[in-house]
C-alpha cells in the first residue's frame, strides 16, 4: 500500500544562527501509513516535526504537499492544509471543558451566537470515533493523561486532519492506555490518515509503524519498511554504536537490611505497604500508574502526609515527617516530574544543583566559588552537556536535565536513593549512563529503589521487584521470577497466589 506521498520533505535543512541542526532530511508521509521517526534527544526529531507542521520554516529544501511545493507562512496555514501536530505536553486549556477545547479558536456560530447544539453533536461524534467516553462538559483538568490524548486526537479530527504528527504520544501513558491509543491509530490509518509519530520505546515502534526513519545528529541514517529492521537495529542506528548491553550486570548477592518499612499508609493512596531494602540492592517497584507507587514513596520520604507502624534505617527506628527528616537519615527521593517538581527551569545550572543541599555551601552566607566547583564536578561526573554554562535549565535537552536532576539529588549525599521514573522521556544513550550510575551507586554500599512504568527497565535493572496494585503490595519477585508476565499478572491482580508463595 504505497500510494503517492501526502506530505514530503525534500533535502530540508534548518539552521539556528550559525548552527545547522538538520542536514538534508528527506522523508515521505503516505496516506494510510504510520511513519515512526526515531532518534536520540537532540537528533532533530522535534525540529523535523515542527517544519512538517508549519511551526517553523526550513532554511533550505522543499516541502511537498500532494506533490506540490508549499511554504507554510504560519501554523495556521499548516492546519488549513490538514496537518495537525499533537504536542508531548498537551496543548489543551485545562480550565475549559472538553467541548470548548475541541472547538477552541474555531467555535461554530449561528448568527452572532454560538451554535451549542451542533458543537455538542459533533463533539460526541468525534469522541465516539476515538472511543473516548468522557462527558463533553468535563473540564480538561480532571481528565487522565490518556483521555487528554484522546481529546487531542478528537480535536485533530475536528480539523479534518489528513496528516497527524504526534510527538511522543505514549510517554505519559500506561501500557493499557497505549494499547487503546494504538487501536485508535490503526482506525485512523484505515480511514486514510497519514500519521507520523515519535517514541523512545522501540517495542512500540516495531508494533505500530509501517515505515521507520532514524535520525542521528540531524541527518537520516536509516529509512525503510518497519519489517526490515528490528529493535536492536534501531537502537544501533540511533546511537551509532552497539547498545545491546543496555543494563549493567546485576549484583550477585546483597548485604544486610538497610531500610525496613512496615505498614506505611498514605491516606487515600496506599496502605499497609511493607518491604525491606538491602545494602547493594536495586529494588524495582512496578505497577500501573495510579497504583500508589509514587505516592507511597513520597509518603516515605516525608513529601506528603503519611504514617507508618515502623520505619527502620540501618536497624534504628526513625520518624519521618518532612523531607528534611528523610534527608537527615540519608533517604532521598528523585522525582518523576523533572519539569514541575525537579528543576527550576528559569534558573541556571548551579542554582539548581545546590538548592537541595545549600547548607553544605557555607553557614550563613553561600560560598559561590564552592558552588562553581560543585558544578564543574557534576558536569564531568554526570556528563552534562550544555551549550553555555550559565544557560537556563529549561533550555537543556531532556536527557541533560535528567542528569542535572540526578546530580542535584546526589549533592545531598543519600545512602538510599528512591528514583521515580529515572529515565522518562530520555534517549537510549543517556539511559545507559543512568543505569550504570544507579548500579555503581548501589554497589558502593548504598541502596536504590527504582519506580518505573517501563517493564523492560524494571526487569533489566532490579535485583528484586515489588509490584503494587491499588495502593497495596501485590507481591515481590526475585531473580528468575522477574518476567514481564509475572509482573503484569501481579499488577492486574491475576494469579497472585502462585507468586506470593515465593515472596
Amino acid at each position: 500500500m504505497t500510494g503517492t506521498p501526502v506530505l514530503s520533505l525534500r533535502d530540508v535543512s534548518k539552521s539556528f544562527g550559525p548552527v545547522e541542526v538538520l542536514h538534508g532530511v528527506t522523508l515521505d508521509l503516505r496516506a494510510g501509513e504510520v511513519l515512526a521517526l526515531i532518534g536520540e534527544n537532540g537528533a532533530g526529531k522535534s525540529t523535523t516535526m515542527k517544519i512538517l507542521a508549519g511551526y517553523q520554516p526550513a532554511t533550505s529544501g522543499r516541502i511537498l504537499l500532494d506533490g506540490e511545493e508549499v511554504t507554510f507562512g504560519s501554523l495556521h496555514e499548516g492546519e488549513e492544509a490538514g496537518i495537525v501536530m499533537i504536542h508531548q505536553e498537551f496543548n489543551l486549556a485545562e480550565q475549559l471543558t472538553v467541548e470548548q477545547n475541541i472547538f477552541l479558536g474555531r467555535e461554530l456560530h449561528r448568527g452572532w451566537l454560538l451554535d451549542k447544539a451542533r458543537m455538542r453533536r459533533l463533539t460526541r461524534e468525534y469522541l465516539d470515533r476515538v472511543n473516548c467516553h468522557v462527558h463533553p462538559d468535563t473540564p480538561v483538568a480532571k481528565l487522565s493523561n490518556s483521555d487528554k490524548q484522546m481529546v487531542e486526537i478528537a480535536k485533530a479530527l475536528s480539523r479534518d486532519a489528513r496528516v497527524l504528527v504526534m510527538d511522543e504520544p505514549t510517554a505519559v501513558l500506561t501500557a493499557s492506555e497505549t494499547r487503546t491509543l494504538f487501536e485508535r491509530v490503526r482506525a485512523l490509518k484505515a480511514e486514510g490518515t497519514a500519521i507520523l509519530f515519535t517514541s523512545h520505546k522501540l517495542g512500540e515502534v516495531a508494533e505500530i509503524a509501517d515505515h521507520v526513519t532514524v535520525l542521528r545528529d540531524g541527518a537520516v541514517v536509516h529509512d525503510g519498511r518497519a519489517g526490515g529492521i528490528d529493535e536492536d537495529g534501531m537502537a544501533t542506528a540511533m546511537v551509532g554504536r552497539d547498545v545491546s548491553d543496555l543494563y549493567p550486570a546485576k549484583a550477585g548477592m546483597s548485604g544486610e537490611v538497610m531500610l525496613r518499612v512496615q505498614g506505611l499508609d498514605v491516606p487515600g493512596q496506599a496502605e499497609a505497604v511493607s518491604f525491606e531494602l538491602r545494602h547493594g540492592e536495586i529494588l524495582g517497584i512496578a505497577g500501573l500508574i495510579g497504583s500508589g507507587r509514587t505516592e507511597a514513596m513520597e509518603g516515605l520520604c516525608g513529601l506528603r502526609t503519611a504514617s507508618a507502624e515502623r520505619i527502620e534505617i540501618g536497624g534504628d527506628a526513625v520518624t519521618i515527617r518532612r523531607p528534611s527528616d528523610a534527608l537527615d537519615h540519608g533517604l532521598c527521593y528523585l522525582t518523576e516530574d523533572r519539569k514541575l517538581r525537579g528543576l527550576l527551569l528559569d534558573k541556571p545550572m548551579w542554582e539548581n544543583l545546590t538548592l537541595q543541599s545549600l547548607e553544605k555551601f557555607g553557614g550563613v552566607l553561600i560560598d559561590r566559588t564552592a558552588e562553581e566547583r560543585a558544578l564543574d564536578r557534576a558536569i564531568s561526573e554526570f556528563d552534562i552537556r550544555s551549550g553555555r554554562r550559565d544557560m537556563r535549565v529549561g533550555n537543556l535537552s531532556g536527557g541533560n536535565q535528567q542528569k542535572l536532576l540526578l546530580a542535584k539529588v546526589m549533592m545531598s549525599e543519600p545512602r538510599i536513593l528512591v528514583a521515580d521514573e529515572p529515565t522518562r522521556g530520555i534517549d537510549i544513550g543517556t539511559k545507559q549512563q543512568i543505569y550504570a550510575f544507579l548500579r555503581d551507586f548501589a554497589a558502593s554500599g548504598h541502596a536504590v529503589i527504582v519506580i518505573s512504568s517501563e517493564m523492560q527497565e524494571v526487569i533489566g535493572l532490579a535485583d528484586r521487584v515489588l509490584v503494587m496494585r491499588t495502593g497495596r503490595v501485590a507481591g515481590t519477585l526475585t531473580g528468575q521470577e522477574i518476567t514481564e508476565d509475572a509482573i503484569v499478572r501481579l499488577a492486574m491482580g491475576l494469579g497472585a497466589a502462585e507468586t506470593e508463595r515465593v515472596a
Binding site: S324, L340, E351, L355, Q356, L365
Partner: protein, 332 residues
C-alpha cells in the same frame, strides 16, 4: 572524576538592560534635576529626598522578599498607620508613669516592632497555613488596619503629647556626622537585605519558591516557613519605618501611610524584581525608591510640570520599567 574540567567559565558579559535600565533612569533623573534647579544637588535637598525615601524604602526592602517568594502584601500602608496610632496611644498612656525620657521612647519602639511582627505573622499565617491567596488576605487586612486607626482616632487625629514630641523629634531630624537617622537606618536595612537576598540561603530559598513552589518543596525547602518569614520580616520593617515616621509629624490619622503599599510595590518592580516571583534584587528596589522620590522632588522644585501630575509620571515609569524588562528577558 577530574578536578580540572575543560569547561570554560563564562566571560563577564556586559550587564543586560534589566540591570542597566533602572541605573540609567536614575542618572537621567539626576541630570534633569541638576540642570533645572541649582539647589537640586545641594546637601539640604539630597538629605531631604533620602530621608523622605527612607520610609517607603525600608518597607520596600521587605516587600522585595515577599514578592520574590511569589507573594504580595497590600496591607503595609494601613499597617504603618495602625502601628503609628498604637505607638502614640501607648506612649501617651505611659507618660504619667514613665515621664518624658528614653524609657518611654524605647517602649514606643518596642510596641511598634512587636505590632509589626504580629501583623506580619498574622498575614503570613493566613496565607501559608490556611492557604488563602495573598492578594485577598492583605486586601482584607489593609481594610481592617485602616479602619482600626480611624476608629482609634475617632475619625480625627491621634497626637503625641507635646513634651514627648519635642523629645522624640531628633530621631527624625538629627543624626550622626550630618546624616539623619532615617537615612542611616535605611542604609543598614538595605545592606542587610542585599546580603540576605544575594548571598544567604534565605534569599535563595525565596527565589526558588517564587520560581516554583513544587520544585522548592521537593528540594527540601520549607515553603510555608520561608514564606511566613518574609511576611513577618516585612511586618517588622513596617514597624521600623513607623518608628522613624512618628517623630516627623508626631501624629497619626486615617490618611497616614495612604498608598504606601502601592509605592513600595512600584519601587520593587521598577528595580527589576519580577512581580510573579522567582527573582528579586534589593539594590534594584533602592533605585526604584529613589526614582519615585526624585520625580516627586523635581516636580516640586521646578515649574516644568504641575506637581499634580506626579502620579501620572510615576505610572508611566512603572509601565515602562516592566516593558523594558520583558524585552531584556526575551533577548536574554
Amino acid at each position: 572524576m577530574t578536578t580540572e574540567t575543560t569547561n570554560t567559565r563564562p566571560r563577564r558579559a556586559l550587564p543586560s538592560m534589566s540591570v542597566l535600565g533602572p541605573i540609567l533612569a536614575l542618572i537621567v533623573l539626576v541630570a534633569i534635576g541638576a540642570s533645572l534647579n541649582s539647589n537640586f544637588l545641594g546637601a539640604a535637598n539630597i538629605t531631604n529626598v533620602l530621608a523622605r525615601s527612607a520610609f517607603i524604602g525600608i518597607i520596600a526592602v521587605g516587600m522585595t522578599f515577599v514578592i520574590t517568594a511569589g507573594g504580595l502584601d497590600l496591607s503595609v500602608g494601613s499597617m504603618a498607620a495602625f502601628i503609628a496610632g498604637l505607638m502614640i496611644l501607648v506612649m501617651n498612656a505611659a507618660l504619667p508613669t514613665l515621664g518624658v525620657g528614653v524609657p518611654i521612647i524605647l517602649l514606643g519602639m518596642l510596641v511598634a516592632l512587636l505590632a509589626g511582627l504580629a501583623a506580619g505573622l498574622l498575614n503570613g499565617f493566613l496565607i501559608t497555613t490556611l492557604g488563602i491567596e495573598a492578594f485577598i488576605v492583605t486586601l482584607g487586612s489593609m481594610g481592617i488596619y485602616r479602619s482600626l486607626v480611624t476608629w482609634l482616632a475617632d475619625g480625627g487625629t491621634l497626637s503625641l503629647d507635646f513634651g514627648l514630641r519635642t523629645f522624640y523629634r531628633p530621631v527624625y531630624f538629627d543624626g550622626i556626622l550630618g546624616i539623619s537617622w532615617p537615612i542611616i537606618v535605611f542604609a543598614l536595612v538595605v545592606i542587610g537585605g542585599e546580603i540576605l537576598m544575594s548571598r544567604a540561603r534565605f534569599g535563595r530559598h525565596c527565589a526558588a519558591i517564587g520560581s516554583s513552589e513544587h520544585v522548592a518543596h521537593y528540594s527540601n525547602v520549607n515553603v510555608n516557613r520561608t514564606r511566613l518569614l518574609t511576611y513577618a520580616m516585612l511586618g517588622v520593617l513596617v514597624g521600623v519605618a513607623t518608628i522613624m515616621y512618628v517623630p516627623r509629624l508626631g501624629s497619626a490619622s486615617a490618611s497616614t501611610g495612604l498608598l504606601w503599599e502601592l509605592e513600595a510595590i512600584a519601587a520593587v518592580i521598577i528595580g527589576g524584581t519580577v512581580l510573579k516571583g522567582g527573582f528579586g534584587r534589593v539594590w534594584g528596589t533602592v533605585i526604584g525608591v529613589l526614582i519615585l522620590s526624585l520625580i516627586d522632588n523635581i516636580l516640586n522644585l521646578t515649574d516644568l510640570v504641575s506637581p499634580y501630575l506626579n502620579g501620572a509620571i510615576q505610572g508611566v515609569i512603572i509601565i515602562l520599567a516592566v516593558i523594558l524588562q520583558r524585552e531584556a528577558k526575551a533577548k536574554g
